[in-house]
Structure formats: C-alpha cells, structure tokens
C-alpha cells in the first residue's frame, strides 16, 4: 500500500501534504500495519510519511527510525485516526529518539495502552494539530487509560500547538527534562493533569485551554533525574477552568497526590512567572506554590532543591475558585477544614505552602515569592511547615496576608529557538 509519490510514472498531482525535501510515502485506508511500520523504520533524511483519511489499526508500537527532518502527517485530526486499542507491545504508541527536526501533524492517536506519542532526545520537535484521546475519557472507568498524551522528554526546541488531548490517566501534555519549550493554543480536558512541565528549562505555556481535568497546569521538579532544577518557565494567557474531575491517576504516581479542583501548581522550580491567566471554578484553589516536601517522598539526591523560589504571579483573573476543596485528598481535606474562616469564605486563590529552605536567609519572604494580584484575590501562606500533623488543623497556621509577597521580579524572556514563529 506504500507508494512513493516521486516514483509514479504518470506524474500525478503532488500530494499537498508531501512537503519534505526527501521521499514522500503515502498510505491510504486499509494499508498493512507491517508496511507502515516498515516505512517508519526505514525513513531517510527529509522524508514525509503521509496518511490519507481513515482509521489505521495497530498491534505493535510504531517506532521511528533514525533520520533528521522527518514529518509524520495526517489528513487532519478528524480525518486520520491511528487506533492502538489492539497494541500488544511497547509502552508508547508512537516513539522516536535521537533525531533532529521531527514533525507530527494532523492526525489522531486513539486508545493507546500507554503513552500516545513519546520522543526522547529530539532536537527541533513540532507537534501540531494532533488529537490524543481515549475512549474512556470523561467516564468514571478511565483509570487504565494510557499515561501521557504528548510526551517529549530530554528534548530541545519543542513546539506543541493546536493539539487536543483528553482522557489521559496522567498528563495530557507532559514535557519532561527538556529545554526551550513552547506549548500554546492547545486544549486539554478530562485528563488528570492537563499540561505538565517537569524538570525543564525555558518553557512558555500560553493561550491554552485547560479545563475539566483534575489539575489544569503543573510545573514540577522531581529529584534523582538527569536534568533537574527546573527554571525559567512562563505560564500566561491560559484559560484554566473547572479542573474538578476526581483524580483517577494510579496511586503511587506523583500526580495522584494532586487534589481535584487544582488550577495550577508550581512545585520546586525557580524563576517561574504566571500572569494574565483566567482561573475560574477550580474547586480546591486557583494557584499553588509548593515544595516537594509536601509530597512527603524521601530522596537522597544532594543536588536537588525541593523549594520553589523566585516565583512571580501577577495580573491573573480569579473567579469562583476554592469553594469546595477535594475532600478525598489530604491537601484538599486540610484546606476544607477552615473554609469558613478564610477571606471570602473560600480556599485561597493563591496558596503558598510556606515550606522554606532552612539555609535561606531569614526574613518574611526568604524564597522570593512575589504576588501582584488585585486586592480581591486571596493570598495565603498555609505554613505547612508548622502544621500539627496529628490534628492537621490548618486554621492554626494559615496566614492570609499578601503583604510579605508584595514584590516584583523582572519579566522572564520569551522562549525562542530556530524555526519558531511568533
């Protein structure tokens, strides 16, 4: 079923999706899996693999061979569906590693048993106009649905745009241990985490719609990894709404610790700027600034910094957040205790856990957490560092006073990399 465009003798009109500098291998509905997997395996520099409209079913993972400048292109996410419900081998449906300038565009990946698309050590990655979904999305029985949707790791110069991801039992978009990352104009819903940036440097997450997940957007840093000390992350102009889906991540998974109703969390990391986002209807709270210590997981990594620092949150819009913290989650449960006593009668819009580096210079704001929000925004330090672990009575420790955080930080620069259009 594979046909090289360039080899047709009658000079047919060139498939407009064949844009690469190399060969173009096209597949039509009914193409044999072995032929598709063979084409993926034997790609050469500049090749394009193009799928016509239709559903293509797979029993094996689809791994990409080692060649630069390759494009994997469908006829549009509503036209081309790669269905992995029958996948028997491999943790990821699509997998690529150690190449430059790779593009996935215009198709749907459906029902992968594990991650939908993973890339490892790719420099120059574009994921555009993709849909990733699982049949269980939005149902109570989707615990076993996949893990991550779009999953670049240890990759550089990453652009994820105009994608739609739903139903992931971990994160819809997960960018790990990467550098120079732009995640924009995507829609993520009914995942545990809509968008997660983990152990990454230089990321812009903007103009996304992350709604009806367990948590909207997470910026995490974890110990024991090759790249850690996440920093220089901007999260702006996103719409982060109604992320109140009960947490359906597997226990043990780090995101299983996140309460339902979370708009945004930054955990550890330094130099993070969160601005011009719209937070609405996130029942546990809009934005949290927390330490890895809150996860109560041990680590031995001497280089790991578990405290967030130089976080600047300003100019965001908050409505109807924190009205019903997740009682099934320890953080949510603790917050719900004092609900009536908080300003405005709801859990804080901006919640700082107050766990600071014991070696930091003393003072009211040792980690330089800066908050520049309207006076109607509730800003509280929960002081989990002083919480009595037997009573868990947060009303004894929480201080709702924005004044220690009334500082500003210089704006972080926009992420740029070769080929990135504004």
């Amino acid at each position: 079923m594979a046909a090289a465009c360039s080899s047709k003798s009658s000079a047919p009109a060139k498939n407009p999706l064949c844009t690469g500098s190399g060969r173009c291998v096209t597949f039509a509905k009914g193409a044999a899996e072995g032929d598709i997997a063979g084409a993926f395996s034997t790609v050469a520099k500049g090749d394009a693999i193009v799928f016509g409209p239709g559903t293509y079913a797979f029993t094996n993972q689809l791994a990409l061979g080692t060649a630069d400048g390759v494009s994997i292109v469908g006829s549009g996410p509503d036209q081309t569906v790669l269905d992995f419900a029958g996948q028997k081998a491999g943790e990821d449906a699509l997998f690529a590693q150690s190449v430059n300038d790779l593009r996935f565009e215009g198709f749907t990946v459906k029902d992968s048993p594990g991650n939908a698309i993973k890339t490892l050590s790719v420099t120059g990655l574009t994921m555009r106009s993709l849909t990733v979904t699982w049949s269980g999305a939005g149902t109570p029985n989707n615990k076993m649905d996949g893990a991550y949707g779009l999953y670049p790791v240890q990759s550089t110069n990453v652009l994820i745009e105009k994608c739609t991801i739903s139903g992931a039992s971990d994160s819809g978009v997960y960018v790990g241990q990467s550098q120079n990352v732009v995640v924009r104009d995507n829609e993520a819903f009914q995942n545990v985490s809509g968008i997660e940036i983990e152990n990454s440097f230089f990321a812009d997450v903007h103009d996304n719609r992350s709604h009806d997940n367990t948590a909207g957007i997470l910026v995490f840093d974890l110990p024991g990894l090759k790249q850690e000390g996440g920093h220089s992350i901007r999260v702006y102009s996103n719409t982060i709404t109604h992320n109140d889906t009960p947490n359906f991540a597997a226990m043990g998974d780090i995101v299983s610790l996140v309460p339902a109703g979370t708009g945004f969390f930054v955990m550890a990391n330094h130099d993070v700027e969160i601005f011009q986002n719209t937070f609405d209807g996130n029942d546990t709270g809009a934005a949290g600034i927390i330490s890895y210590a809150l996860a109560q997981m041990p680590f031995t990594d001497p280089n790991y910094v578990e405290y967030p620092s130089r976080v600047y949150i300003h100019g965001n819009t908050y409505t109807n957040n924190g009205t019903k913290p997740d009682g099934l989650n320890q953080i949510g449960l603790v917050l719900s205790v004092g609900l009536a006593s908080y300003p405005g009668g709801h859990a804080p819009d901006v919640l700082y856990d107050g766990i600071v580096d014991p070696n930091a210079p003393p003072g009211p704001n040792p980690m330089t957490i800066c908050v520049g929000e309207a006076s109607t925004t509730t800003v509280c330090n929960a002081h989990f560092d002083m919480l009595d672990m037997t009573t868990l009575d947060i009303t004894k420790t929480i201080v709702c006073d924005a004044s220690p955080y009334a500082c500003t930080l210089p704006p972080l620069p926009a992420v740029t990399f070769p080929g990135l259009r504004p």
């Binding site: 899996e33 072995g34 032929d35 598709i36 997997a37 063979g38 084409a39 993926f40 395996s41 034997t42 029993t59 094996n60 993972q61 791994a63 990409l64 061979g65 080692t66 996948q87 028997k88 081998a89 491999g90 943790e91 997998f95 590693q97 150690s98 048993p113 594990g114 991650n115 490892l120 050590s121 615990k143 076993m144 996949g146 893990a147 991550y148 999953y151 790791v153 240890q154 039992s169 971990d170 997960y174 790990g176 241990q177 974890l222 024991g224 990894l225 090759k226 991540a249 597997a250 226990m251 043990g252 998974d253 780090i254 299983s256 109560q296 997981m297 041990p298 680590f299 031995t300 990594d301």
Partner: protein
C-alpha cells in the same frame, strides 16, 4: 508444528547457505554495513536451519551467554563472524568493540514441547546486527515454514504462538518480531546503536562446539577473534541467574537485572529519564530503586510508592512490572508477553532478604 505460518510459505529460492548442503558460501555483511539490508538472511551466509537446528556456516562461531535476555521462553542461537584480520580487544568490564564488517546473529525459536529434550525447534526469526563504519545496524528476518529462507521484516510483526512449557502448561505468547526502529529501543546507548550480549563476563562459560566443549573466551582467543584475554579463571564471570552454584541470591538477581534491564536502565540507555539504574555494578541503593519513587510510570506504579521496598517484593514496583504482561506496564518494555516466573522468584528473593524500610 506451524502455528502461525501461512500455508504458501514454502521456499521459493534457495539462498546461499539456506539449504545446508548447498554450495559453500562465504560469510559477509552482505551490504548491510552500507545501509542496504539484503532481503534474505541467507545472503549473510551466517546460519541455516537443518533438521530443526540452527547451523552456523563455515567460519562462523556460535556462542551463548551466562544470563541471557528473556524473550517469552524462546530458545536462542547466537553466532558471530569477524571479517578477515578483524579482532576484538579484550576488556574485562565493558561491552566488546567489534571491527567494522562484523556480523552477529541471534535466532529465536520454540520447541513445540519444552519437555522433549533435544527435539526440533520451530525457528521464528533471525535477528542480524552488522557493524558498519558509523555504528551497528540491525534488522530481523522471519523464517518460512520449511526453514528454507528467512525474509526481512523491516516493519516487524506480532505473532500469536503456542507451546508447551517445561511444566507442561500451554503458553501462548504474543511474540514480537521487532521493527527495525524497535531494535534501537534496546540496542542503544545515548542514541547510538550498540551490541548487548558480548561482554567478557557473559562469554566466560563453556560451549559445546561440534569439535568439543571449550570456554568461549578461550576459543575466541584461540581462533584469533579476541586479543589480550586472560585465562578464563582470571576473567570476570556473570552468574547464571537460575543456577545457585554460580553465585549467591544477590549476585544472581543482579545478574538477571544486568542482562534484562540495564541495557535501558544504565544512566545512558533509553530509561535514562527514570533515574533507575540496574547495572550489576550500581552501588547506590536509591539508584537501584530502594525507596525511590517512580518517575513517569503512570498506572504502572500500581498503587505502590517505591520501585523497591526492602523485604517486600509484593510492594515493589520493580517486581510488579516484571510480573505484568500488559504493554504499558510490562518491563522490559518490548519482547516479553509472558511472565518469567523463575526470574521473578529470584528477584523477589533478593528483595525479601534486604534489610531496612521505606518511610
């Protein structure tokens, strides 16, 4: 005993070496070192199948490993051929580096009944690794029903097989013939293709050659394939994971993890994103998974907090993933659709006798 073969899969061409007694051929990389894999495995003149047994061609050296990779209980037959004048320089503690033009093959097959010793084997595929100027290249060849020829399978496939195991149980693996790109899922270090098996400690063992039993390192040295090797008793030796005479519980469990996990879990392999290092030489308990939380494991965490919990294999994600066969959860990620019960036992015993606890 063809469970999966298409009825028309009869030999159409007698490739060089494919008929056993056919005209002699000379082993070579057959152009694969130039990036052009031949369509039939016979072109390499490395192995043929005769009477249900893989037979090396003249000049091709078979070998075995102390603790091999588990592949759904497949039996394996490995061979190596070095170009004329080519030689491996002995190193005690790293993979052997082979000269350009080297060809390695590994054939995978299943006896219909593992209780029948020495019976014919249904050979499924022969994987070929060729050392090219710019690194290793690999692909697989799938045998026809008569074992006359094996054809290239660049895209790989999943085969529904069946056999009776050593305990008399019927096993039905969904056996993976890897695609060419999937070779690199295991045979890679920091993105570059590598060989996996030939290390000194894996080859330091006896092999029953046609002309008698001999230590593999000694034979490779005697044939001139290997330079600088000490006598076998002075070379390292990896324990055989299921032979208590070759090492204690810890050493055998670590040998199994070395062979089955560390090609990814070594700090530079594909699992470098996880922080879990399962090399036999790793000494940091945390890197080995002790009280280490999972990273990006998703539902494979299975409600447990740590990769390894001392004294508690049943709470250890590492054991859970060795037992699991679902594609998102099973480890290794590729090439295992059945639980390796014997190995799970050894690794569980190792964890059981660990002292300490996690928070």
């Amino acid at each position: 005993m063809r469970w999966w073969l298409a009825p028309f899969a009869f030999a159409l061409l007698a490739a060089c070496g494919g008929g056993g007694a056919a005209s002699p051929c000379a082993p070579s990389a057959a152009g694969a070192d130039k990036g052009d894999f031949p369509s039939s495995v016979g072109a390499y003149c490395m192995v043929s199948v005769d009477g249900g047994a893989v037979t090396p061609e003249r000049g091709v050296t078979p070998y075995d490993l102390n603790t091999p990779l588990f592949s759904d209980y497949a039996v394996k037959y490995r061979t190596v051929w070095l170009p004329k004048g080519g030689q491996v320089t002995y190193v005690p503690d790293a993979r052997f580096e082979f000269p350009v033009g080297t060809v390695i093959t590994k054939s995978f097959g299943f006896p219909p009944d593992f209780r029948v010793a020495g019976g014919p084997v249904n050979w499924i595929e022969t994987r070929v690794l060729v050392r090219a100027q710019d690194g290793w290249k690999g692909t697989s060849y799938v045998w026809d029903g008569a074992h006359h020829d094996a054809k290239i399978s660049a895209g790989g496939e999943i085969l529904n097989l069946s056999f009776v195991d050593a305990q008399g149980r019927t096993q039905a693996p969904t056996y993976l013939v890897p695609s060419q790109a999937q070779c690199k899922k295991c045979h890679a270090n920091d993105g570059a293709m590598i060989s996996l098996g030939p290390w000194a400690d894996q080859l330091n063992r006896d092999f029953a050659y046609v002309d008698g039993t001999e230590n593999e390192l000694a034979r490779w040295s005697r044939l001139g394939l290997l330079a600088g090797a000490p006598p076998p008793d002075q070379a390292p030796k990896l324990p055989v994971f299921d032979d208590p005479s070759t090492g204690d519980m810890t050493a055998r469990a670590r040998a199994y993890l070395q062979a089955n996990c560390s090609y990814c879990h070594n700090g530079n392999g594909e699992a470098r994103t996880s922080g879990l290092v399962l090399l036999a030489t790793e000494t940091d308990p945390y890197a080995l998974g002790v009280c280490k939380g999972p990273v990006a494991a998703g539902k494979a965490a299975a409600g447990q907090s740590y990769d390894v919990v001392p004294a508690h294999p049943e709470q250890s994600i590492l054991v859970y993933r060795m037992q699991a066969t679902a594609p998102m959860i099973a480890m290794p990620e590729l090439g295992r659709s059945l639980e390796h019960v014997e190995a799970v036992q050894v690794v569980s015993d190792w964890i059981t006798q660990m002292s300490g606890s996690c928070p």
